[in-house]
């Protein structure tokens, strides 16, 4: 299974649906997906992980870069729907302490559009 992402705009929030796997071979594609999202000040982005089965440090690197850019440009990045084993990868890396991670994606949307 390879990596796919679909971006939609809902009520002023970018919603990015991720599917497949982010590994060292597909992290570049993931990086392209997120690249320009925080160029404009105050961007709101939801990363929907519900269909993502696998992420390694190559993918975490891309998430961290996006989170840093979001902070610099007064944007907001929320991760939602992480499968338990994927969540554990974020936990081990200390990312749950520094990123906004919410279980339910509907809740993430209502939080951001408020």
């Amino acid at each position: 299974m390879t990596f796919q992402s679909v971006i939609t705009m809902k009520e002023g929030v970018h919603h990015i649906l991720l599917t497949g796997r982010v590994d060292s071979a597909t992290a570049g594609e993931f990086e392209q997906t997120l690249k320009n999202l925080f160029d404009t000040e105050g961007s709101k982005v939801i990363l929907n992980f519900a269909g993502l089965n696998y992420i390694s440090s190559a993918g975490l690197r891309v998430v961290l870069m996006a989170a840093k850019r979001a902070k610099q440009n007064q944007g907001r990045l929320v991760l939602c729907g992480l499968l338990p084993h994927v969540r554990e990868v974020f936990e081990i890396s200390g990312f749950l302490k520094i990123l906004e991670v919410i279980g339910d994606c509907e809740q993430a949307l209502s939080l951001l559009k408020a």
Binding site: D23, A25, Y54, S57, R61, K68, V89, I92, G94, I98
Partner: protein
């Protein structure tokens, strides 16, 4: 961390795989690993994550991106342990001794990009060692089967 025994009881080989040294090959290895651990998707995930982190390091740094080398992967199960062996023909390198431990308490602005791969392997495995035998590096990983 649990302490692994010196002897692995009833060890049987599940997978003996020759991986061409290209990042795009790792997903195929992952499928093979899932195929030999059908009843333990949790273990297959952990094995695949650790394999990818170490293989990516070997390809990018140890082999300087050379696409025509072979990395050998062997996975075995004993009564109590999953054993993973990785063998390359790169110059001597011990990731477990040389990779710095990341500071996980830093704020988002201070966290460096990268440097997490070896930390993940050490966190997820019960034992991780690297040896150099004159022809390449041998990495031995052990993980308890207790979930």
């Amino acid at each position: 961390m649990a302490t692994p025994p010196v002897e692995l009881r009833n060890k049987r080989l599940l997978l003996d795989y020759q991986l061409p040294s290209q990042l795009g090959e790792i997903a195929k290895l992952a499928e093979a690993v899932e195929g030999v651990l059908p009843n333990r998707p949790d273990l297959a995930f952990t094995a695949n994550l650790c394999l990818e982190e170490l293989i990516t390091n070997t390809i990018n740094y140890g082999l300087s991106g050379a696409p025509d080398r072979v990395i050998r992967v062997r996975i075995s199960l004993s009564d109590d342990w999953l054993e993973i062996l990785l063998k390359d023909d790169a110059p001597p390198f011990d990731p477990f001794a040389e990779a710095p431990t990341p500071d996980l308490d830093l704020d988002i602005d201070e966290r460096p990009i990268g440097g997490l791969g070896v930390h993940m392997v050490k966190s997820m495995m019960d034992a991780a060692h690297a040896y150099y035998d004159g022809s390449g590096n041998l990495i031995v990983l052990l993980k308890t089967l207790r979930s």
